[in-house]
């Protein structure tokens, strides 16, 4: 029996639904009824989906015979899957790094710094990179600071230097 990555994702969905149903059993009925009823239906459908997927592969049904997925944007044709995978890992590292930077140095500095470093590292000129970073900085200062008067989240650096709002 061949099990693929997409099957593991379906298993993950099944586990999530199972966990949701189990958690809801400890709530009063008026709070849990929708989770119990719809969650059970979802769990059943996900299990059937997994069985269909594995059976289709076992019977070697060609992927071409599977109808196109509706209510979804068309997938991008990958010309170089290896490079795409590397690119995906790269951007996830950037996103996690940005979150860490927000936590350490604060949103106001982290976002322009992210724009500057990302644009510069992937080929933009210094002038363009600085312009883009300034654009985001000005947007935050103009809208969020001056019009919406937002309280920015505390950062470690802000706490150390007593710069938080």
């Amino acid at each position: 029996m061949q099990v693929r990555g997409s099957d593991w994702f379906t298993v993950f969905i099944i586990l999530m639904l199972g966990l949701a149903i189990y958690t809801a059993t400890s709530w009063p009925l008026r709070a849990s009824i929708i989770v119990l009823v719809l969650g059970s239906a979802g769990l059943f459908m996900a299990v059937v989906q997994l069985a269909f997927d594995i059976r289709a592969r076992h019977l070697k049904i060609s992927p071409r015979s599977t109808p196109r997925l509706a209510m979804e944007l068309p997938a991008t044709e990958s010309k170089n899957p290896k490079e795409d995978l590397l690119g995906t890992l790269e951007i996830w590292v950037w996103l996690l790094g940005l979150f860490l930077a927000i936590y350490v140095i604060g949103l106001r500095i982290a976002l322009p710094l992210f724009v500057l470093s990302y644009a510069r590292l992937y080929g933009a000129s210094w002038r363009l990179s600085v312009f883009l970073a300034a654009l985001i900085g000005a947007f935050m200062f103009g809208i969020y600071d001056n019009i919406m008067h937002v309280y920015w989240p505390d950062s470690i650096l802000g706490n150390l230097l007593d710069l938080n709002d």
Partner: protein, 496 residues
């Protein structure tokens, strides 16, 4: 009636009122085009200024701000797959593929044309329906509203033709995500994991950004190319878009009527009008195999309905004093502050204000579409920007937009966690739109079901409105099976 209309028209025709209308439209478009800035947040900021104005100026300004956001947010939905607001989520499904196919200008042009037409139809229905609407809306209780939301959910099965089980499971996941936080009926904390951040639940902004925008930006960053898959921006897109809108005029009208009706229903929420219209188009149009791949009808239907719903929402806000959304609630506060009395009184001695609102609504739609048309050509070049310009800017806007949900760093953490879900759904072939639709409809399904049982016990299932709506749901579920069966019979006949 005609005297009141003339009085309304002549009052609004003053240069000062028109200037405030233009200012409101420009601000409304600007807020709509920037994710996280428009909608109720923008209205809340502008409200104190509007309350100091003369009534007619305040009406012109606020109608301009409130009713054109859905026209402005088409830009980001089509060009970079970032729904600028909750009313433009369905536009992404065909608008973004059109942009990737080099048809951004056609998609935008068609969207702005039908936005204007939809808005005008909504305004006309607002004008025409006030005398007859009262009994119809009053006949809609919680059982009918429950069936109405179930109708919305049942459309998912028919729309996810390639993977109905995955579509329905994704919708259920969306409903379950919507239950996170305090249950208002029992006070129970659901799925909060003892984290105070989750007590208020997850924002729909976070869901739409993490399910659509961030996964698309990840794909763009991984490909290291631009949005468009072609190098030519084309020269005929704008006229083609206008022709598309005219060619599909009946779809425009039907979608606008759906949008107006959804807007009229108090509590149904304006977030679902575009989905209802998209589902309707997919079900009733011929040759729908290109839906989701860049079919202009997939842009026309949601854009027509999401602007028409403003007229519908104003009907209940003005005639009954019942706001159908947060924006309408804020608008109601402003109207009361400047001396209007929304409710049945408004149909009597203040009826000329209703005409001012109808005319301002119609003018706003025309003005907004005109301004957006002028912006199509420069905006379409966004599709040809290199990834290292678009990715950091859009990711930053997404982070800021997510942060606007509760102004907490946990908003950004939640965005990343939910983006993982959106990303894995995308790469594993799970449709993502149903999760958003399930999330939007989930709280309403639960609330109206509970209200129906609490108010009517099980007697509610015999109400005439419930029976009619139940029949419509049955038709919705069986219609695709019937057409598939008929197609199959026809194919067998041809082979024989």
């Amino acid at each position: 009636m005609f005297e009141a209309f003339y009085l309304g028209l002549s009052t609004l025709a003053s240069p000062e009122a028109l200037a405030f209308l233009v200012l409101g439209v420009v601000l409304g478009l600007w807020g709509g085009a920037l994710p996280g800035v428009g909608g109720p947040a923008q209205l809340a900021v502008l409200l104190p200024f509007a309350m100091l104005m003369e009534p007619v100026n305040a009406i012109a300004f606020l109608i301009g701000v409130t009713t054109v956001g859905n026209t402005g947010n088409t830009f980001t939905s089509v060009l970079v797959a970032v729904p600028g607001g909750s009313g433009s989520q369905a536009t992404v499904l065909d608008g973004y593929p059109m942009a990737r196919n080099g048809e951004a200008r056609r998609a935008l042009s068609a969207a702005f044309m039908v936005s204007m037409l939809g808005g005008l139809i909504g305004a006309s229905l607002l004008f025409a329906s006030i005398p007859v609407l009262k009994p119809i809306v009053r006949s809609f209780g919680s059982p009918e509203l429950f069936l109405f939301t179930i109708w919305g959910l049942s459309m998912i099965g028919t729309m996810s033709a390639g993977a109905p089980l995955k579509g329905l499971t994704a919708a259920i996941l969306g409903v379950l995500l919507s239950t996170v936080g305090q249950d208002v009926k029992s006070g129970t904390m659901r799925f909060d994991f003892e984290a105070p951040y989750l007590w208020e639940g997850i924002s729909v902004v976070l869901i739409s950004l993490s399910i659509f925008a961030i996964p698309e930006m990840i794909a763009l960053a991984a490909r290291k190319r631009m949005v468009a898959d072609v190098n030519d921006i084309g020269t005929t897109g704008i006229w083609q878009g206008i022709k598309d809108a005219i060619r599909h005029k009946w779809l425009v009208v039907r979608s606008a009527v759906i949008g107006t009706w959804v807007g009229i229903m108090p509590g149904l929420g304006s977030d679902v009008a575009d989905w209802f219209a998209y589902a309707h188009a997919k079900q009733t149009e011929k040759n729908t195999e290109n839906f989701g791949r860049g079919d202009v009808r997939g842009v026309i239907a949601p854009e027509s309905s999401n602007n028409a719903k403003e007229g519908g929402a104003l009907i209940t806000t003005l005639a009954f004093g019942i706001p159908g959304s947060t924006s309408m609630a804020l608008l109601l506060i402003a109207f009361v502050a400047v001396g209007l009395t929304p409710g049945p009184d408004m149909l009597g001695n203040q009826i000329h204000y209703i005409f001012i609102i109808v005319i301002a609504l119609a003018l706003s739609q025309i003005l907004a579409s005109g301004i957006c048309w002028a912006m199509i050509r420069p905006a379409a070049y966004v599709c040809f920007f290199p990834f290292y310009v678009l990715v950091p800017i859009i990711v930053s806007l997404c982070f800021l937009s997510a942060f606007s949900a509760h102004f907490s760093i946990y908003d950004i953490a939640a965005l990343l966690v939910l983006s993982l879900l959106g990303y894995f759904m995308k790469i594993n072939g799970w449709p993502r739109a149903p999760i958003v639709l399930g999330f939007v409809l989930g709280p309403k399904v639960e609330l109206y079901l509970w209200l129906s049982i609490a108010r009517y016990d099980m007697e509610w299932i015999w109400r005439p409105g419930v029976i009619i709506l139940f029949s419509l749901i049955t038709i919705t579920l069986l219609f695709p099976a019937y057409t598939a069966w008929r197609r199959g019979t026809a194919e067998i006949g041809t082979k024989e």
